[in-house]
Symmetry: D2
Subunit: 407 residues, 4 copies
Amino acid sequence: MTDNHEEWVARAREVAAALAVDAVERDRANAEPSAEVKLLKSAGLPALLIPEDLGGAGQTWRTALAVVRQIAAADGSVAQLIGYHYVNAANLWLAGGAPVQRRLGRLTARNQYLWGDAVNPVEPDLALTITRTGYLLNGRKTFATGASSGDWIAVTGRVESAGAGAGAGAGAGAGAGHGGEHLLAAVPVTAPGITFGRDWDNLGQRLSASGSVTFTNTPVPAQDVIGPLGPDVTPLASAITPAIQAVFGHLYLGIAEGALQAARTYTLSSSRPWVLGGRDSVTDEPYLLAQYGDFDARLAAVGALADRAAAALAAAVGRGSALTWAERGELAIEVARLKVVATDAALDVTAKVFELTGARSTASRHGFDRFWRNVRTHTLHDPVAYKRREVGLHYLTGQTPDFTLYT
Amino acid sequence: MTDNHEEWVARAREVAAALAVDAVERDRANAEPSAEVKLLKSAGLPALLIPEDLGGAGQTWRTALAVVRQIAAADGSVAQLIGYHYVNAANLWLAGGAPVQRRLGRLTARNQYLWGDAVNPVEPDLALTITRTGYLLNGRKTFATGASSGDWIAVTGRVESAGAGAGAGAGAGAGAGHGGEHLLAAVPVTAPGITFGRDWDNLGQRLSASGSVTFTNTPVPAQDVIGPLGPDVTPLASAITPAIQAVFGHLYLGIAEGALQAARTYTLSSSRPWVLGGRDSVTDEPYLLAQYGDFDARLAAVGALADRAAAALAAAVGRGSALTWAERGELAIEVARLKVVATDAALDVTAKVFELTGARSTASRHGFDRFWRNVRTHTLHDPVAYKRREVGLHYLTGQTPDFTLYT
Amino acid sequence: MTDNHEEWVARAREVAAALAVDAVERDRANAEPSAEVKLLKSAGLPALLIPEDLGGAGQTWRTALAVVRQIAAADGSVAQLIGYHYVNAANLWLAGGAPVQRRLGRLTARNQYLWGDAVNPVEPDLALTITRTGYLLNGRKTFATGASSGDWIAVTGRVESAGAGAGAGAGAGAGAGHGGEHLLAAVPVTAPGITFGRDWDNLGQRLSASGSVTFTNTPVPAQDVIGPLGPDVTPLASAITPAIQAVFGHLYLGIAEGALQAARTYTLSSSRPWVLGGRDSVTDEPYLLAQYGDFDARLAAVGALADRAAAALAAAVGRGSALTWAERGELAIEVARLKVVATDAALDVTAKVFELTGARSTASRHGFDRFWRNVRTHTLHDPVAYKRREVGLHYLTGQTPDFTLYT
Amino acid sequence: MTDNHEEWVARAREVAAALAVDAVERDRANAEPSAEVKLLKSAGLPALLIPEDLGGAGQTWRTALAVVRQIAAADGSVAQLIGYHYVNAANLWLAGGAPVQRRLGRLTARNQYLWGDAVNPVEPDLALTITRTGYLLNGRKTFATGASSGDWIAVTGRVESAGAGAGAGAGAGAGAGHGGEHLLAAVPVTAPGITFGRDWDNLGQRLSASGSVTFTNTPVPAQDVIGPLGPDVTPLASAITPAIQAVFGHLYLGIAEGALQAARTYTLSSSRPWVLGGRDSVTDEPYLLAQYGDFDARLAAVGALADRAAAALAAAVGRGSALTWAERGELAIEVARLKVVATDAALDVTAKVFELTGARSTASRHGFDRFWRNVRTHTLHDPVAYKRREVGLHYLTGQTPDFTLYT
């Protein structure tokens, strides 16, 4: 593996610069992020984590998370798309065997395919009915980030019990699950029976293609089943949750850093000292300077922890099947810490940048609220109060949370 | 004077209820608030502060501010319109003499006229050129809240020095100012030479009709001059600043109260306990309950101070020309205290209500972000850090700020 | 009743001024507050709430709480003593009948007796064994504020079941409780069998005489039984909890106000502008001024709510036996709101006043930490997080807490 | 150089464990920290940073700061002593030439000498009068941390102008300064004319031996002059300020970590669930868990930044005389960021640990307040608001602060 971290970060920064140009307009349009996805692909970002021998760039999570953070500074939605993609496709290496890794890994690398998902665990499970060649997938998920704009969809479904599916006895080769089992599989967006709701119209992350998806007898051939994701999950496969939560932390941090940079540009170009404050220059405003300093310092601390958590994720994934539950638990807590501080800092910074830019900066054309809207929307994914609880229970007792798609 | 405080508050609550029905849609439309203004008028709210002998309701500022707070809970923009109106029309009693009070007071009461303004002190002064019968008004103001949707506009202008206006020597009766003097006057929106920019497209307070206005040789007859508003202002006339700042405090508080009530409705009807939290009911969620409690307690404290500040304003205005500079100074500080705590609480509550309602509440159709957008936008009117400074200087030294249109 | 509110507040201020002179030294000495109690008595403060026809001053809770707040500004411990006294003696009017009110009310007023208590509900109940003339009291309470330095002790005990006390059948007149009943009674500190631990050596409230007390066969004559305080309590008797919690809120607020005043005195007399800040005078330091202003504004809001809560308590108690459970519930919530905001503000202000006074102000001789130590210690009485929960549950559902000695 | 980082940290942890045993009692005694200093010496900590060829351990600042943090968890005062020592002795390598490095470096390593200082820049300069063999030192410094308990004192003095010192013309060899120059020198505590005030009696850091020192004609031989420390300072010599500020950040962080650990021990051994909360175990208390989690997460972020800043300091010092002003400026900002977040987190955590341990934990014998007192006292060293300003100005403009002993 060749570590080209800085090079990839620089490439992500270029993508971010391109996205920043019309971020406000695109946010308002609330369209499918087709052009954005093309940009990601032409930069080669989707294949970043895929091993070199399968045609990917062979980088680690450290780099993937840095890419998410860079892009988030310009466009939180697109950062969500690429970050979720990394997690969704990573299931191949965390939960899958060599055949599916090779098949879908190569395919993804060669085409720079983007992966979305349909796994929201709060909703009823999708159903996998056993057929001769695999499964039929049925059901609906309300929030399927990236599914409608991507190429493949990572899905989790529950294998219907024997009695439910006629002909289940026929089995489906190596990939066949038993009744009740939860399986993780990959479905191409071009498969039959997939309908997208295109119904994501929310406060923030507006271009994240997070609308609903419905599957109606969508065939899932056995070769596209990645592996089990239920109670019998391995520590490595379960690392998918720390991975997605690490994406969240970097997403929030990146958005906040973007907001502060945007404020800086505005302050320097457009702000004026307060008429009653007696200063000649905005760079001599005492409250403004202290507030900028406070934000920069706080984001630096979150950033240092983000780097540490990213390194921990990369190390854990690097352990492969040797990863233990105890190591997985410590990783989850480290990532939860990041989630907590990134949430707090990003909500605060993005809400208060207006105090750094002033009354006229609220004009809609500046779109400075998009940073807050993005953070405000996504940080509700799962309640941060319960993340604090997790971290606190661990601090007190050493206990780490059981695997769920939230913990 | 008959104090019908509770009755008027109840009436405002009815107006608020009507406004709440389609507040989200109206916010999005960003149109001129014509229907909203009609609603205010049909409830008789514009004449609230006008003395009974001139046809008004003869209530005090205590009631006017309570009305602003009630309406703000449903629609911050409309609360701004009525609050600014109270301040603009109040100039008649604070700065004007009996003739103009009688003339414009009666007119306003009889027609439930709404007053906007064009006084933004950060921008260059409007020019008043002396004519035989009064003045010609020229210039532009960027933020003229309520002007385009109201009936009269309170303006401040600077009388052009003698040499500038030919025939100035002819004077203009009692109302004629000398060169350099700042005068306060009232201009009907129907006067010639008024152009509205209809260019208010900002993050929040979207229906507050806060676009620009341009005056081109708009005649201001001497009888519509209210009085001087410069260095030679009286304590009473200068109370216009504490009045508008008290409106701000009540506006922010009311918006926050509205946000919390909206969250409550949503929580009770639509929220679910956290899937991993182990509670059956959302009303047993420990973090949710504590957060609601924290917000209710904080708003109660701000509310108690708002009532106290409103009583102080009513008392000060009630002193009439007996009001001293020292009394005016203490009033300004009390109102500044309110501004500080109302700003902090309202920004916090409106940003965090989403944590009380959860991820699905970010759907655009709920429009829960409008509370935050409204507070975020208006609290930038003048920097709250400098208000803290004012209050702190007074606490340390007893010093009160000199009169400006911000202090 | 003659309302001499301002006069009594002025008197309390004089007592506070006297206490302030050597507050630091007395705090360090950690002695029994004998001289302090004498000062309270010589000012006539203990009889403040006692009806005029029994020889008291006949003031309301509004004044009693204002007295607590004034004294707290100088000495939190002494404020706790007088505040707890008001609550303890108030049991006569909340829970007692006319005979005990007359007897102990007159006695207390005539001698300016101070009441402590031994009622900590977290610990095992004291035992009341029925005798021919009343009860024998046995047991221990760890925190018995004011007991060792006062004249009477309000106790709650559980009447031992019939089998336990020989001769219980003889009864004890009107005051006799049945087995298992919780009774409230008054015991003079001079009664036999009382031992004080003199073991209160804590971080703060060091002079509050909050050590332990042990009762060994201490006789409680029937005439000193005040009334029941168990499940069959009346709304009026149960108002003792809002009363003590209101004392807490005023205590914290008063301490914070005292801390800020002390900081002000120090800043004006001893602080210097920051050597690198470029200002000539400390009253031109931007961060200092804003911080003072922030604290003054926040304490003003808490103060306004404190006044409102005090008025609510006075009104509720004024309703006498007509007080309903619903009214009692609303009162409890209003007081809980105050407790929440007073706790937050007082902890914050007392910890940060040092930033207003600077490095040299940490010299032990200034004793500026006593404000924080006092607030920090007492605010742990019952967890404020659960008060937030109470207020939040009420906000959401209208539910008010059942009566306990904490709610 | 052999990097034995982990080994030294472990050794520091042992010292910390020994210090923790009687930290409360020692804090109360407020004595000279003689035994504590012996403990540091017997662990070999004073020679940690001294190059191996001079007999030291040859570790980097990364390790030195980690040692400070470990010891701070148990005893903030002793952490201050060793941290200041590292900075004071480091002047030899930052500002001195080879001869003084060799002489005093060897001496210090061989004897595990501890260095205090007398350099408070707010006070008048000490005077250095030129003599035939060096200088005579005169003057007084109020806060001379470690001087009275150490072996050598780092002093800064101003060379008196020619006319002032008779015989100045004779010069003093290589070390002789010109009139007005600021020199840095080392003085053994056994030198004549040194008087210690033993007058440090402050809220916190009570064992830091931070009392005053007076020099009366104390001879400073030329060979003990380290170098200039005035306007003509080199980037490397000026790195002494980032070094001391980095010590501050690690000190605050370590104290906060110690406080949280102490709270944990108490919670697990002594706390009980809230009587009205309905939980059986304290480890199921929702608010307690979330608060522990919040603190752990925040300290993790500060810790990650602390590690990053420590590495930056080590790298900068490692650059030696190649260090540029620009690099020094960036280092100063990175350290300032740490100072800001460490201050905020440490003040918050140490004040609120009581909410994790509860009312009974305020008993004086637990001494839990010492953490807060230590942080509260030392964080006032220089105003953190101005550090925010520095960081903010840099964020906006790229500007870094000029060298002073605070920046």
